[in-house]
């Protein structure tokens, strides 16, 4: 079913909206959930929560692109679930987030320092300035949460190259964020 029809179902408060969404976008969203959670049961829970969240938000929200809208929800819910499940395990880290910590200068209490909207806009510009291969690697890693080997396979390069690209980009991003005065 076309996205516009599915969104129409949400606006009509028809429960078919959820089944149609699930049918069409389960594969897309489960990739993201799997990247973060690595657990089938948790993935299912995450997807159910994603459809529910969509139900609660449409209307009033009218997504421009339904799959990215759902992907963003999955991304957030997956991370929350990951945190919840791993509260007791201090060593459990979601690697992409762990890596992104390298880009944030300062101590452990910087979360409040950056203007989230401005930061997102800055990241958008940063990503757009990258050559295609690097842009692809960066988005796959830090938006979709893909593993290194998955990215290498998709981009048809070896894993070392992916690691090197990411490492250089994190270094560059840290320098630019510092220069631009994010994080105080």
């Amino acid at each position: 079913m076309e996205d516009s029809k599915i969104i129409e179902l949400y606006f009509k408060r028809s429960e078919a909206a959820i089944s149609e969404t699930s049918e069409k976008y389960s594969p897309y969203c489960s990739v993201i959930a799997k990247n973060i959670l690595h657990n089938e049961l948790d993935e299912e829970e995450c997807l159910s929560d994603t459809w529910l969240c969509a139900w609660n938000n449409i209307p009033p929200t009218v997504p421009n692109c339904l799959r990215v809208f759902l992907g963003k929800i999955t991304r957030n819910i997956s991370l929350n679930l990951f945190r919840k499940k791993n509260t007791a395990k201090r060593s459990a880290v979601f690697e992409p987030i762990d890596e992104l910590s390298e880009c944030v200068p300062g101590g452990e209490t910087v979360e409040e320092a950056a203007d989230a909207k401005a930061l997102a806009e800055y990241l958008d510009g940063f990503i757009r300035s990258l050559p295609a291969e690097k842009r692809f690697v960066f988005i796959r890693r830090y938006w979709y949460g893909d593993g290194i080997s998955d990215i290498a396979e998709k981009a048809k390069v070896n894993e070392t190259r992916v690691k090197n690209i990411l490492s250089r980009l994190r270094k560059k991003l840290r320098e630019e964020l510092e220069k631009e005065g994010f994080f105080g």
Binding site: K72, E111, F136, R168
Partner: protein, 417 residues
């Protein structure tokens, strides 16, 4: 965790970027090779020794073709002949990665593509790598291979892409090849020299009366017009050149210099006036000169400069721009390739002559007189202007369908049936 703030911010990037990353980008880097051809060399592989000699010579020098044509050939060949013929092999070193991307080969020649990625900074513009190709003890036949350094038109600042076309005979095919290099060069200046001068002193000593001569408007004529009043100040400028007059007016500095005539040294553009503090050259606004009967060249040169900067000025002889070592190391990749382009045998007029032909090259064997010239025509009358042509190895400038070859004229005689 600190990274969460960035992860969350990533979640807010524009949707078009997220959608764009759903599919991998086209690999332009490995296909669009319309670009710069660096110096070419001939590689001679001699029996047993694998000793190689190289000469600085370009494709154009060798074959009389425009370099751009050659590159276009490669672009087409690479684009029309995928998948690659060797598994990409990589050598990783700290801060860099050297990769053989692909090879394309028939029974006679091999195109080899490589890529160098540098992670510790930017690769300077004009950087070149001159890799060597070796097939160990099987590098037989003293035949030519060619090398051309080439960079991608979509070159990143940290990536250099190149190719080589090499002879590849049967014995080489049985061996593993290796591609290696030990330095990356980049354009740099060599042999520059600074000459101290005292322009302020020249201004003070110059017998110039403001308003008496229209020196700014007629600066070019001044030494000639006022020859009778001309005085030698002998303020050293550079080498055997002296400043005889220096005038500063309204932000403009005029220097009249004197150089012995006829020493055969071309000085135009060789020397420049620089600001020692900034290292930057002053823009030469105008330059006039004439030769006098006493065998001197006089030049009146005009610059715009702030008065307080004059004490920092000096002359500089520009160095020659040469490829200088930029990065040293030993990079080597062993690889094994197999010919994947099959030959067809063309029907010949003389049964003692065999012509084998693939899409990219052709080999003629049998008793033939020394080649004076050879012409190849397709069925539609198009003449193929070959990249290189010896009877044993004719390299086509673009991939062709061998079945479309209608005529091969060798020293005026038709070889085909």
């Amino acid at each position: 965790m600190k990274g969460e703030i960035l992860w969350k911010a990533m979640g807010e990037i524009a949707e078009d970027l997220v959608i764009w990353a759903e599919n991998p980008p086209r690999q332009n880097k490995r296909k669009n090779f319309a670009v710069i051809l660096a110096a070419a060399i001939i590689m001679l592989l001699s029996v047993g020794t694998v000793a190689a000699m190289r000469f600085n010579i370009s494709f154009a020098d060798l074959f009389g073709f425009a370099e751009a044509e050659i590159i276009e050939v490669d672009k087409q060949i690479i684009e029309e002949n995928t998948p690659v013929e060797v598994v990409p092999e990589t050598e990783e070193k700290t801060g860099s990665e050297f990769t053989v991307i692909s090879a394309l080969a028939d029974e006679r020649i091999m195109y080899l593509l490589w890529q160098f990625d540098y992670y510790d900074g930017e690769i300077p513009e004009g950087a070149q790598i001159m890799p060597w190709l070796s097939f160990g003890e099987s590098s037989v036949d003293t035949k030519i291979g060619y090398y051309g350094g080439m960079v991608d038109e979509n070159r990143d600042e940290d990536t250099l892409v190149g190719y080589m076309i090499a002879e590849w005979n049967g014995e080489m095919q049985a061996e593993s090849g290796s591609i290696s290099f030990s330095e990356i060069t980049a354009p740099g200046e060599q042999g520059s020299k600074i000459y101290e001068t005292d322009i302020l002193s020249a201004i003070e000593q110059s017998e110039y009366i403001e308003g008496e001569y229209e020196i700014y408007n007629y600066s070019g004529k001044w030494p000639y017009k006022y020859y009778a009043e001309y005085q030698w100040l002998d303020i050293p400028a550079y080498e055997d050149t002296y400043i005889d007059l220096a005038v500063y007016e309204d932000g403009k500095l005029i220097l009249v210099t004197r150089t012995p005539w006829g020493d055969g040294v071309e000085r135009r553009g060789t020397f420049e006036l620089i600001n020692k503090k900034t290292g930057k050259a002053l823009e030469l606004i105008s330059r006039h000169g004439f030769k006098d009967k006493n065998r001197f060249d006089f030049f009146s040169v005009l610059y715009e400069v702030d008065y307080e900067d004059i004490e920092n000025l000096c002359f500089r002889r520009k160095g020659e721009i040469v490829q200088k070592n930029w990065l040293s190391g030993d990079w080597k990749i062993d690889f094994k390739a197999e010919p994947k382009m099959e030959d067809i045998i063309l029907e010949t007029a003389d049964e003692n002559i065999e012509i084998r032909c693939s899409k990219i090259s052709m080999g003629i064997s049998g008793k033939l007189p020394e080649m004076e010239y050879m012409q190849i025509f397709l069925a539609d009358g198009t003449e193929i202007s070959c990249v290189s042509a010896t009877p044993e190895r004719v390299i086509f400038p673009k991939p062709i369908n061998p079945k479309e070859i209608a005529s091969i004229i060798y020293n005026g005689a038709e070889l085909l049936a």
